[in-house]
């Protein structure tokens, strides 16, 4: 079932001088199996939005439907929200700071154990997830505090994958990583997506949207400005949404302006572009 937001408002610290309206009537749909990117400036409400997805925040007004869960202010059963968190896994920004157990495998197992699974079963899942994120076996018994920053990030992601969520929500998972680490985890999410996990990906990096997204949501000042597919978004001038033009798109635009005929629908990466250029020059 798709995720549905119906006219969601969210206000922080209501009735205090620090009142802050973060979401102002958001309606959107996130389709099953999609790789949905949410883009917008810092403070546009992206982070608030994703916290509605697993019931960390309950809309001040409006409603959110996630699978069979209906989240609304007057309908909050805490038990149910707890179970929802198993279906929608959220990886927060700088997730390496959530590690705390003595060993890496225990940390990954921590999530599923909170949902009442047995330790033996959980360890098996934990090992699988660590393998998925590319952590070698001899690390399993190590302390999560003696590995590098990029590795910590991957262990934290494994800790959420271990919940075996149907939807994986990621808040800037590549922030502060080097290009190699970034590419590695992006390809990981792409693989997970191809295996059927819905990915909701919050990012500032427009190039990621270009290369990975199947759906894109543009936000500004607590509102959804645009919900569309990347092909349509980049066919327009994205700078009107104060986004940067991806480098590949910039090249495509330059080439088209010079009269080269390119089949834009086939271009998602630099390799595709080069292939299309070779075609066009024949």
């Amino acid at each position: 079932m798709p995720i549905n937001f119906k006219n969601v408002f969210y206000t922080y610290s209501e009735k205090t001088p620090f009142r802050h309206e973060a979401l102002k009537g958001v309606s959107l749909t996130i389709n099953d199996g999609s790789f949905t990117c949410i883009v917008g400036h810092t403070g546009c409400g992206k982070s608030t939005l994703i916290q509605q997805l697993n019931g960390l925040l309950i809309p001040t007004s409006g409603s959110v439907d996630v699978n069979e869960y209906h989240i609304e202010k007057k309908n909050k059963s805490l038990k149910k929200l707890h179970d929802l968190r198993k279906e929608v896994g959220v990886v927060f920004q700088f997730s390496e700071y959530q590690l705390f157990e003595e060993t890496i495998e225990d940390d990954v197992a921590f999530g599923p154990m909170n949902f009442g699974m047995k330790k033996e079963d959980v360890l098996k899942i934990a090992h699988e997830c660590l393998k998925t994120v590319g952590i070698p076996e001899d690390y399993y018994k190590k302390s999560p505090f003696e590995i590098s920053g990029g590795e910590k990030r991957r262990v934290a992601i494994a800790g959420i994958l271990a919940l075996q969520p149907k939807t994986l929500v990621l808040d800037e998972p590549t922030a502060g990583l080097d290009p190699r680490g970034t590419k590695y985890i992006l390809d990981l999410f792409k693989k997970l997506n191809e295996q059927g996990t819905t990915i909701v990906f919050v990012t500032h990096d427009i190039n990621i949207v270009y290369e990975y997204a199947t759906d894109v949501i543009v936000m500004n000042e607590g509102k959804v400005v645009l919900q569309t597919v990347p092909e349509k978004l980049f066919a327009e001038d994205v700078e009107q949404y104060s986004l940067e033009t991806p480098l590949i798109q910039k090249t495509v635009n330059l080439l088209q302006a010079k009269g080269m005929k390119l089949d834009v629908s086939k271009i998602r990466s630099l390799e595709d572009l080069v292939k299309e250029i070779a075609e066009a020059r024949k």
Partner: protein, 309 residues
């Protein structure tokens, strides 16, 4: 962010905002003395208490502290107030003899009621005073004010400057760490941790899952902060100049004398009663008063001498 409105510095440009932090600390102590001193009879207690309440309320208005906020902060005290009443009713103060009314076999004394009211009044006034101080004084100025009072301790090698610097940095990082706490709690909640419900063992684990990451991040922050401070030439032992300089103005002198006189007045009142009979010994709190005055003058001299050097 959670409710951090209480006691937070609110930038206005009132008379009290402009006062020297050192003077404000003195006035706070002096007014606290006036509030907490005990008077011979309940009549005097409530007359003086009422007068102080009006005075402090006026200060509140001058300093733009929201009265609504104060009532909000008092909400937390409800439980305490009820507890106080109950204790005083069941265990009446010594020498209680005037029965107000009876509840079954329990006599409720006037003294018990007055005693409770007195404590409540003191509490409220104390909270109001503290809020005036924190709402009108930048944390940094407050720290510098405290450092000034600790100046003499520097002579015995007490690291007054380091302590002040530590406090000011701690104050600076409170909002950052609150945000961090919020973020880690949310991250762990997403992993199925329930911070509010569950068995004791589960909740203990929940707290561990919050505390450890918080500590690790705080340590990392402090390390990076130390690096950055060092790179910017900070050396705790070296002499530094000051950007913030506390200035004792004419207004400060005026308020200093006013509050000092008020405190002296209440002390005299509490001791000499109405009759103004002379007693044979100097009351101990007058001694405190004299000590405070001497101390402030001494610190001023030492501080001036150090700055000259």
């Amino acid at each position: 962010m959670t409710n951090v409105a209480l006691g937070r510095y609110v930038p206005y440009n009132s008379f009290i905002h402009r006062m020297d932090a050192r003077n404000k600390i003195f006035c706070l102590i002096a007014l606290m003395v006036a509030v907490f001193i005990s008077y011979p009879t309940y009549e005097i207690t409530f007359i003086v208490g009422g007068a102080l309440a009006v005075f402090i309320f006026a200060l509140l208005l001058i300093s733009h502290v929201s009265v609504k906020d104060i009532f909000k902060s008092l909400r937390v005290l409800w439980f305490f107030i009820i507890l106080l009443l109950v204790i005083n009713i069941f265990i009446p103060p010594k020498g209680a003899e005037n029965v107000a009314f009876s509840m079954g076999s329990v006599n409720v004394y006037w003294e018990a009621i007055f005693q409770s009211l007195k404590i409540i009044l003191r509490l409220i006034l104390m909270i109001e005073l503290t809020m005036i101080l924190t709402a009108t004084t930048k944390p940094l100025d407050l720290t510098y004010g405290l450092e000034w009072y600790l100046t003499p301790l520097k002579l015995v090698k007490f690291p007054a400057h380091e302590v002040a610097m530590t406090i000011s940095i701690a104050l600076r990082f409170i909002p950052t760490l609150l945000d961090e706490t919020d973020r880690i709690m949310k991250a762990q909640s997403s992993r199925g941790v329930d911070f509010k419900h569950g068995k004791l063992s589960a909740r203990l684990k929940a707290i561990v899952s919050l505390i450890i990451p918080l500590f690790i991040s705080a340590f990392q922050r402090s390390e990076e902060l130390a690096d950055s401070m060092e790179a910017r030439g900070y050396d705790p032992k070296a002499k530094r100049t000051r950007y913030h300089i506390l200035r004792f103005s004419l207004n400060d002198l005026f308020s200093f004398i006013l509050v000092g006189a008020l405190m002296s007045g209440t002390i005299i009142l509490s001791h000499y009663q109405w009759s103004l009979q002379t007693t044979s010994f100097v009351p101990w709190y007058s001694l405190i008063l004299i000590c405070i005055f001497i101390y402030i003058i001494l610190v001023g001299i030492i501080d001036a001498a150090r700055r000259k050097a």
